[in-house]
Every structure is written in C-alpha cells, then in structure tokens.
Symmetry: C2
Subunit: 494 residues, 2 copies
C-alpha cells in the first residue's frame, strides 16, 4: 500500500530532521568553539541526505497511487498536505537551487562583514545578485503553484496567506499606528512625569533568574519531560517536539530581558510540545507556519506575559526568586515601555509593526521588479521618516542592511512577525469571549483553561488547514486588525 | 583515482559518525527524559545509513584499485588500515548480524530487569542464546581473518592482541597479586592503626568541585576550545576529536570520586584531541583500540593522578577551590585506598586486575566451548574465592550477572582494562627513563613534557601500528607485567 510506504519513508525523514534539529541546537548551546568546522561538514552531509530523501521521485509516485487508495479523512488530509509540501520542495530545478545557495551564502557572509563597516556600496552588488535570483525563484514557484510571484514566496512560510489580503490589513494598522505611536509616547511621558521609573538595580544572579524562568515556564505549561531551557547568544526555540530546546541569555543588570525572552520561547515550545504526536513524521503533524508560530510565542509574551493581570501573580514570584519586592505601579512602566528606534528586534509591540510593514512594502516591490536594490536606502529612509519620524539615510547599517533576511534570500518571511502579533490578539479576544474570566485566571496563576483553548483550537490542528483557515476556525473570523489595535489602545492609550 | 574516491566517501562517513557521537553524548547529558524514544529512532536510522555506507561493496573495489596506485607511505598505511577495518566490518552475513542484534538487545533488556532481582535462572536461557551466537560469530570471523576464534573477537577491540600472548602475562600478574593483595591490605591496616583516616567531611558544593575539575583538566592539557565537561549518570568520554565531551557525576559528601573520574576521562580526551587531524576520517587517524585508550585514561588517573608527587601540586588547588586544607599524610590514604570487593567498577588498581583476569579466563573458555553458561556461577565463585577470598555463590547479581558486557554480546573486551593498566605503567616507566624528572614536573604542576612524550609516542601514531607494535615502539619492549607490579609494589608495598 502506497500510503504505508509513504508513512515508512516519512519516519526515516523525521529521523534525519531529528538529528539536524538536535545538532543545530547543540551547536548554539553546548558545542566547543573549535568544533564548528566539523559540525558544519556533518550537518551539510546530513542535510544532503535529508534533501535527497525528501525530494525522492518515488514520493510523487506513491502520492499518486495513495490518492486512489481507501483512506480515512485524516489520512486524506495528511496526503494533501504532503503533496503541497512536496510540490513546494521540488518545484525548483537543482541547478537553480545550487546557484542560489552559493549567492545567498556569499551575500550573507559579506553582509556580516560590511554591515559592521556601514558599507552599503560594497554590499549592493551581492544584494542585487540575490534579488535577481529571488525574482527568478518567485517566477518559477509562481508557475508551478499558479500564484502571484510574491505570494509563491509567502506560501513557503505561511500557506494560504496572500499579499492582496495582507496589504489592506497592514494599511489599516499603519494608519492607526502613525497616529497612535505619538499618543502612546505622550501618555507614557505624562505618567513618568508623575512617577519616575524605578530603575532595575541588580545585580540579579543568573542562577536566580534561571530559577524564576523555570518556575514561570512550568506554571504556563512547559513540559520539562519533553524539553529544557539553556543559554545561547541569540535566544531560540529548537530541538524536536519530544525534546524542545529553548534558550535565553542573561544580563545581571536586568532580569526582564531574559524573562520576557523565556516567555516568548515558551510560547513557541508549547506549540511544538502539543502537536499531535501520531502525525509527527507527516507534514500534517507539524506546526502550521511562521505567522501561526509567532502568534503562539507572542500570545505568551504579549497577551499573557505583558498583561497587568499576569503581573499580579508574577510579582510574588519575582520576590521569591530574586528577593526583590516590586509593585504593579513600578513594574508596568518597564513591561510596557514604548520607544521609537531604528532596530526592529529591539522594538516594542507598539512600534514593531511599522518596522515590518515597511519591509513588507519594500520587499513586495523588490520581488515585483518595481523597486531596484540600489534604491533601497532612499526608500527605507522615506518610510522610516513617514512611519517613525527617524532617518537612516546616513546609516544603511541600521537601515536596509539591518536584518539577515534579505542577504540570506528570505523574502516573504517578514510579514509573519506582525501577522503573528495580530493573530495573537485575535486569539486572545476569541478566548476571552468563551472564557470571560481569563484575566482572573492569569492573576491567580491558573493557566490550564487558557492552554486548553489553545490546544483545542490551534495546537491539535497542526497543519490540517491553511493559515487563514486555521485562524478563522479558531477565532470565528478572518484576520481583523481591530483586535490588535484595541489591544494596543487598552494597554498603551490614554 | 580510487584513493581520492575513498577519501571522499570516508568524509561522508565521518559526518555520520559525528552526528551519532554528538547525539549519543547529548542523550546522556542534555536530553529531556521523554525524548528517548524518538532519539532511539533517529540514531537507529542514522546507524543504518552509516552501516550501509561503511560496508558499501564499492569500497572493496576502490581499495583493490587504490592498491595499484602510486601512493606515498602514509597513504599506503591508511589503505592497509582501512582494508583491515572494512574486512572486520563486513565479514559477518547481514542475516547473522540481525539475528545477533535481536538476541543481544533482548538479553541486555532482560539483564537490566533480572540483575536487580538476582534471578540467574530466569536470565540463563537468554545468556545461553547470546553465548551460542558469539561462538558462531567467533567462528565466522576466525574463518575470514585466519585467527583463533577468541582472538578474532579481540581483534575488533585491540588489533594484533592475541590470547596466547596475553595469558602468560596475566598469569604472572595473577600469581603476583594473589600474594600482594594481602600484603597491601596489611600495610594499609598497619598505617591506619597508627594514624586513622581523616574523613571526607563535606558538603562539597558541586560548582566548586566542577571548578576544581576544570582547573585540573586545563593544567593537564585538556583543550577547552575542543571539548567540555558536563554531568551524566555514568561518566564517559564521547563526542568527536574536535569537540570531546567528557562527563562526571558529583557527590557533595566526597570530592575525590568526581575528581578522579574527571582525571580518568581527561586521559581519554587527550588521546582524542591529539590524534592527527588530517586523517580524522580514515581508520588510520583514529585511536588504536580499547586497551591503548584505557592506557591513556589510566595513565592520567593512576600514573599521574594517584602519584604522591602530583598531590604536592594538587593540595593547594584543593585548598583554593574547596576551601579545605589537606596534608599529604591525610589525602594519600584516600587516594591509595585498597579494598577487596565483589564489584569490578568499584575496585582499586591493586584488586581490579583480578576481576578482569577472572573474566578473561571464563570468557575464553565460554567462547572456546570448554565452559557452559550454566556453569558460570560455580566457576565465578571458585575464581573469586581463589583470587580475592570472596564468595558469590548465593549472589549471581554481583557475580556473573554483574556486567553488561556479556549480555550485550561483548566478548574479548574485558582484557583491555587490565592491559591498559599495564601499558600505562610501562609507558610511565619508559617516559621516566627519558625524562627522570617527571615526578618533579608533577609536583610543580608542569605537564607539558609528559604530554609531549605521549603525543610523540602514542597520540600522533593513531592507528598506524597494531596494539602490541605501538606499545613496543613507544616503550622499547613488548608488554611486560614487571612495570605494573613494580608500580604497585612502590605505591602499596611495605
């Protein structure tokens, strides 16, 4: 039976993915510094074996044969999603993939060097090469998938999302934020004028910060029999669903940065740990995509972790683990700090979407051929001035050279961040409709009912539906920026 | 060129070995407890891919073709050693390997359960099955290699070692120890009667013990850019030469047990870290075998780490890291404690060889068909009474059910432990001949000259020679028990 053959084949592929995921997490957490070269060789060999097996031509034959077999509804869904994933994985010619990989790697290496030197002119030719190739990629994918070119790129990260649906939602959000950011800053200024911010004093011992993080992870539902917390330079959630590796990094002068990082990665981890285990080796059983994944991390970090109700429960935890008493009035100005800045990854939840919308608008035009890479510094600067009243014209390192995504050839990924933030707000609103006492639950440290809602509506559904379908089934409506703007107004407004 | 094809193929195999080694070390140190099942699937899939590539029939063709190519002396050595390894790896029919693997796994699982219950009768049928298969294996290997059956098993662990050479050396050692153990115990008793042992008080904080271990590792030559120390239930040295993972386990009541474990594993690690890097993917570039590896760990643990001169340097280290002052007269009774016991892994360096010699004698007869598994309890008890004046007749759990080796089908491995101890003593004697101030070096914490001797004579030679050839080249003579007995007499005699 071909379905059984696929099942067997996918188990082998899962084993290779397991090895790659653990080796990757290990590299960032426990590897000796001199082990990198051999590790890269090992992972590249494994990735090659994995790619060969995941794109094996017999998979197409087995899928075709299995479509004629008597399958139950779940098996049919598994087959559909496998076909989609296989098509996306095999629609580029091997010659093109190799050419593109080389250009991306060279551009990314160059970027690491030249960003530090603020050398846009030196960087531009490599970026132009990557942009030319991504246009070619988008056209190739579009031809196979029957989508617009930019949508064909998005499809790899968030199946079913379309720029034509995203753009009006982003436009509405942008219009709102251009007014709202100055308001939120004025509100903040007024509050701080009345009561200055209590500084984070420290030093906060790392082992105590770690214990605090572990206590919160456990309370929120992280399963320590299937995961762990360690340290890395850049926080991440990696590993495999049966052994989820999350990391943070500690500063002894500030307990909040590590803690909010732990909450964010815990959100990713809960999704992975609660996926349906029996389908773990099929695309059907994997997390839906980048936007949905980000909605899960932001749900825990922003909807739960920066909710004032949460801090009623959290303050005694702080006192217990750090030995320091904070009041609500003292902690919230830190948790809800808003600031205009040039750097996306440092941005707060109010200003962050403007960074993303700028990138979405620019990369859509780049892919569509309406903008040349050479014109990015001016376009970027114009956007930043319009959206955040900041200029980057003399500072491309913190402008269009800021992120690794474009040098690495990742176009279509940026929208996921803000889509995730909006989806998290929409999920919280839907959950509150069903469970009006959710804030009381947070204040009392009761996280079970909230997790149950997410397990039923998101986690257990894995990749059964497209991103917009999954959101609509979970929340009862299509993506709606109003939930996110209402959330921001309630938290940061007058 | 076939040599180049082999080189390329071996690099791919090394990548798979890298993945398996890191996944294995990770499983024992950082894996979440619930991650075991998927990890086993991943490693079993990888091991299957590795085995298929390492035994690929084209390797035989490439070796044959390369033998006709113009190769330098080192390449010829590499080809010879590859041929030897390939022959050992491929000389069993796949059907047999599968049958044996199943019997071993069942027997090992049964052993874990029934040893705890002291149930020899329940365990015997499974062990009989494994013994029958190991006899079959030995005959198959012997036929291909032209060796005696038991030697054909040893050949996998210590190439070139032969039971006919080992037996007389073990006999001489046994004769010596049967007299010497009572003497050493009497000497110890007399000393303790004069000055009772100062107890290890504790508690010794784990992070301080860890710092002490790291300081000693670093002083002895462990390269922290290519390795690390962590914690596991059973101490081991794993990972890969560019990233050697050693572990220990801590008791807060006793700093010596973790520390001596760290020194032992550091000995293994130095060997791995100092192998010739350019040959790391060829069998030529790997450590010679189990006995030579054990000689390197025991060199650091026993010849260096239990040497009184070493403790002149080490006592101030103890004081610094643990905050506790010890005198030589106080610490040496702990470092040189001798005790008759039933358990091999708990034995000291005086009594340990008798545990091994007993196993060597019994397994040689088991493989040779002169002893039946059913007769093991009586034979074991007779040996223990003769060698150590202890009985195990009512206690098979601590007799022939004591070790995992036989249930796991590992016959021919046990001699390596005591061969390693003897080789370490012989190496130390040879080193002292060249460098008479070696003890002064230890007392002053100077480990470079000692490491240089080992690098030149052992580590850099990797698998260029057979085990006995390597020993003879390094020390100028064949295996000679006199160095080990002289070492014991000097340290434990009157």
């Amino acid at each position: 039976m071909s379905f059984a053959k696929l099942d067997d084949h996918l188990r082998k592929i899962e084993a290779l993915e397991h090895a790659l995921a653990i080796l990757g997490a290990d590299e960032a957490t426990h590897m000796a510094v001199g082990g990198g070269e051999k590790r890269a060789e090992a992972m590249s060999t494994l990735a090659g074996i994995h790619h060969a097996r995941a794109t094996a031509p017999e998979i197409a034959d087995w899928i075709a044969a299995a479509e004629g077999e008597a399958l139950n509804e779940e098996q049919q869904a598994a087959l559909r999603e496998l076909k989609r994933a296989y098509t996306n994985l095999t629609c580029l010619p091997a010659e093109f993939v190799e050419r593109q990989m080389k250009a991306r790697m060279r551009c990314e290496q160059l970027w690491r060097d030249l960003r530090a030197k603020n050398d846009w002119a030196g960087f531009l030719p490599a970026l132009e090469g990557v942009v030319a190739l991504v246009r070619e990629e988008a056209a190739l994918r579009a031809g196979v998938l029957g989508l617009d070119p930019y949508d064909a790129l998005i499809e790899q990260y968030d199946p079913g999302n379309r720029a034509a649906d995203i753009a009006p939602v982003f436009d509405a959000l942008k219009t709102f934020l251009k007014d709202f950011v100055p308001q939120a800053l004025a509100v903040q200024e007024e509050r701080l004028a009345k009561a200055p911010r209590r500084p984070l004093a420290g030093p906060y011992a790392i082992d105590r910060q770690r214990e605090l993080g572990l206590a919160m992870m456990g309370a929120i539902g992280f399963d320590f029999t299937h995961g762990s917390l360690s340290v890395s330079h850049h926080p991440f959630c990696g590993g495999v669903p049966t052994d989820v590796r999350i990391t943070t990094r500690y500063k002894t002068s500030d307990f909040l940065s590590a803690l909010m990082g732990v909450l964010h990665e815990t959100g990713h981890a809960l999704y992975e740990q609660n996926l349906p285990k029996q389908w773990s080796h099929w695309p059907l059983g994997k997390a839906r995509g980048m936007a949905m994944h980000e909605s899960q991390s932001l749900f825990v970090e922003k909807q739960i972790g920066r909710n004032p109700a949460f801090w009623q429960w959290a303050l005694p935890q702080l006192a217990q683990h750090l030995g320091e008493q904070w009041t609500m009035a003292e902690i919230l100005p830190h948790v809800h700090h808003v600031e205009r800045g040039l750097i996306r990854v440092d941005a707060d939840e109010v200003t962050y979407p403007l960074h993303v919308i700028l990138r979405f608008e620019l990369e859509r035009e780049l892919v569509g051929g309406k903008l040349a890479a050479a014109d990015l510094p001016e376009a970027w600067d114009a956007g930043m001035r319009d959206y955040l009243d900041l200029s980057t014209i003399d500072n491309p390192a913190d402008g269009p050279m800021q992120d690794v995504h474009w040098p690495a050839g990742l176009f279509g990924y940026f929208p996921s961040y803000t889509l995730g933030a909006m989806m998290a707000a929409q999920q919280w609103a839907a959950l509150k409709k069903e469970n009006p006492s959710a804030d009381d639950d947070l204040a009392a440290g009761r996280f079970e009912a909230i997790a149950d809602w997410r397990r039923k509506n998101i986690w257990s559904q894995a990749s059964r539906y497209s991103t917009p379908e999954l959101l609509e089934r979970a929340t009862g409506e299509k993506l709606n920026a109003a939930h996110f703007t209402a959330h921001l107004k309630a938290r940061y407004g007058a």
